[in-house]
């Protein structure tokens, strides 16, 4: 395809070809340089700078005055009780949320994909929460989770005496899980829906001719053919849930409580960086560790899905 700007006149004329190439190069760089400049300063540089800062002890008030401590910050994070707790909380959070939101998104997508009335309505409605402000959703859910809120009322109808949700260390994190699944299931449903439409109808028809039941078709056709999408959805889910912060912050009124039950890794990093006097380097190290965790999980996951596909 003629993406290169070879104009008819320049065919066979090497000097003008060269000039054209030079012009393209100049034009190309002119078009990307402004963006590249800011991207380098505000995205590339901070990533590298973050890894660099992890090697220092930094005082929050006198930031330029830092002491090199080498790799000391890493064991400091790793052995920190709050960090271990936050890692545990986050892992639990991620596991539950990713599993439930993925299954829910898939089921919703399959349901919407039936020849059903109001498809657009359902799609629109389910997608809405994920574009709303996380802070606002959390505040609304505080109201929903109130001891006398709508959720406990519904539970009382079936004879359950609802807990105080966000004020009980046993249920606070679960509340945030629920709110998170509620928010993101719709987004992932839209992704699944797009993939479902690419599955050729003939496959289902052929299976029907062979006498397959709908449930068999779901497990033998739909699920296997959606494996790449599921990998994608789970990857995005892991990346997102391992960085959960806004909801935990608002629900716990900035404390990570009750009893640190909603302390997540990003929350820990935030606390180290902005509430400790000398914690900025520790926070940077925590962020590097989180990066390694997310990266490894993505790789493990990828392996898992690869072997699934090859059986």
């Amino acid at each position: 395809m003629a993406i290169t700007a070879n104009k008819p006149a320049s065919v066979g004329n090497t000097t003008s070809l060269k000039r054209e190439k030079l012009q393209d190069t100049i034009a190309g760089y002119m078009f990307i340089l402004p963006a590249l400049f800011f991207f380098t300063i505000f995205t590339v540089f901070p990533i590298l700078y973050g890894a660099f800062l992890a090697l220092f002890k930094i005082n929050i008030t006198t930031i330029d005055n830092r002491t090199f401590v080498g790799l000391d910050n890493f064991p400091k994070v790793w052995e920190n009780e709050d960090f271990q707790l936050s890692l545990l909380n986050t892992a639990r959070f991620s596991l539950f949320v990713v599993i439930f939101q993925t299954i829910l998104a898939l089921l919703l997508a399959v349901a919407v994909n039936q020849k059903i009335r109001g498809r657009t309505f359902f799609r629109t409605a389910f997608f809405f929460p994920s574009i709303s402000s996380s802070v606002v959703i959390s505040i609304i859910f505080l109201w929903v989770f109130n001891k006398f809120g709508i959720l406990n009322y519904i539970l009382s109808l079936v004879g359950i005496d609802g807990p105080v949700w966000v004020d009980d260390p046993k249920t606070a994190l679960n509340s945030i899980m629920g709110l998170n699944i509620w928010t993101t299931a719709g987004t992932f449903m839209v992704i699944y829906l797009a993939a479902l439409q690419d599955i050729p109808a003939q496959l289902y028809e052929a299976a029907s001719v062979d006498g397959a039941t709908p449930i068999q078709k779901f497990f033998k056709i739909t699920v296997p053919l959606l494996t790449p999408t599921t990998f994608f959805v789970v990857t995005l889910g892991i990346i997102g849930t391992f960085q959960v912060f806004d909801q935990a912050f608002v629900i716990s009124a900035g404390s990570g409580g009750p009893e640190k039950s909603t302390l997540t890794i990003v929350f820990f990093i935030y606390q180290q960086a902005f509430r400790e006097r000398n914690g900025m380097g520790v926070a940077a190290a925590g962020a590097v560790i989180l990066f390694v965790i997310i990266f490894s999980l993505t790789l493990i996951q990828r392996r898992f899905f690869k072997t699934e596909q090859n059986y």
Partner: protein, 295 residues
């Protein structure tokens, strides 16, 4: 195949060719799931909306079963009070300024660079592009501390510029525009160029008008992202007159824990612009999500 000839349209459905009974059961299960989830999605919003129209006395007494969705004496007072109790109007304006300016700048930077990455051949192009895309794999949290220190040394903490500048060039925006420009045929611009139009003129007059769908999607996602962002304002903004809405609401929540009527009216007000945007540009939202698979 005889079967596929029967159903020429490719609406994928498990329902095809199964017995009417199974078909009915599948429909019932599907509808129950969808209606159930839709109710689950709406109730919190309706519950919030209802509280936002209750007066202070009613909101305190409404903390008992059964809940009342229809306020006893509906009032708009909460929507007025929130502007006097906290500088809600200022926060609103701040959020608007930050979201609109960032969006405009993002559109400029993404479309110019995305165009070059898609259309202009130059040495190093692909390496630079993939390096930019590669940063998408790095979780944003890693930059909390360095961005804070960087902005502090540039004197941008406690300024609105600090909320705009770091976000005006994003790998997502560049990626989205580049993908779009690659997907549209090049003939039109080539014709313009043969007619002697320069790169910049071709870009402004031919390419940009064609890119309206992609630019719309980018507008929505950028505006929404900035409007809802909480972490960055939390880190770099300390003065209450510079708060954006999410930061303001979070602080407000801390101070007025039990004034649910005010908290809910504030929440509704924060969502309104996004609701309008969503209704107006719904198809771009869904398209954007399904083609790029991310927010």
């Amino acid at each position: 195949m005889a079967v596929s000839a029967k159903v020429p349209t490719s609406t994928t459905s498990i329902v095809n060719e199964t017995s009417p009974w199974t078909r009915r059961i599948i429909k019932i299960v599907s509808y129950s799931l969808l209606v159930g989830f839709a109710l689950l999605q709406f109730i919190p919003f309706i519950w919030a909306l209802s509280a936002s129209f209750k007066n202070g006395a009613e909101i305190q007494t409404s903390l008992s079963f059964p809940p009342r969705f229809i306020p006893n004496s509906p009032t708009f007072q909460n929507y007025i009070d929130i502007f006097t109790i906290v500088p809600f109007g200022t926060w609103y304006l701040n959020s608007f300024i930050v979201a609109v300016i960032t969006t405009l700048l993002t559109l400029f930077f993404s479309s110019t660079s995305g165009y070059a990455f898609a259309r202009i051949p130059f040495p190093g192009r692909d390496i630079i592009f993939w390096a930019i895309i590669g940063t998408m794999a790095i979780p944003g949290v890693i930059t909390i501390v360095p961005i804070y220190i960087l902005l502090k040394s540039l004197g941008l903490t406690d300024t609105m510029q600090g909320l705009i500048i770091p976000f005006m060039v994003t790998s997502f925006g560049i990626f989205l525009m580049r993908q779009f420009f690659t997907s549209i045929p090049a003939e039109l611009e080539e014709a313009a160029r043969v007619d002697g139009a320069g790169r910049i003129r071709t870009f402004v007059q031919i390419v940009l008008p064609l890119a309206r769908p992609a630019l719309s999607a980018l507008t929505i996602f950028t505006f929404m992202g900035r409007w809802n962002d909480f972490l960055m304002p939390l880190i770099i903004i300390g003065k209450s007159e510079l708060f954006t809405l999410p930061l303001g609401m979070s602080t407000f929540r801390g101070q007025y824990k039990t004034d649910w009527n005010l908290l809910m009216s504030g929440s509704i007000l924060v969502m309104i612009p996004i609701v309008i945007l969503y209704i107006a540009f719904q198809r771009f939202f869904i398209q954007g999500i399904s083609t790029t698979g991310m927010k």
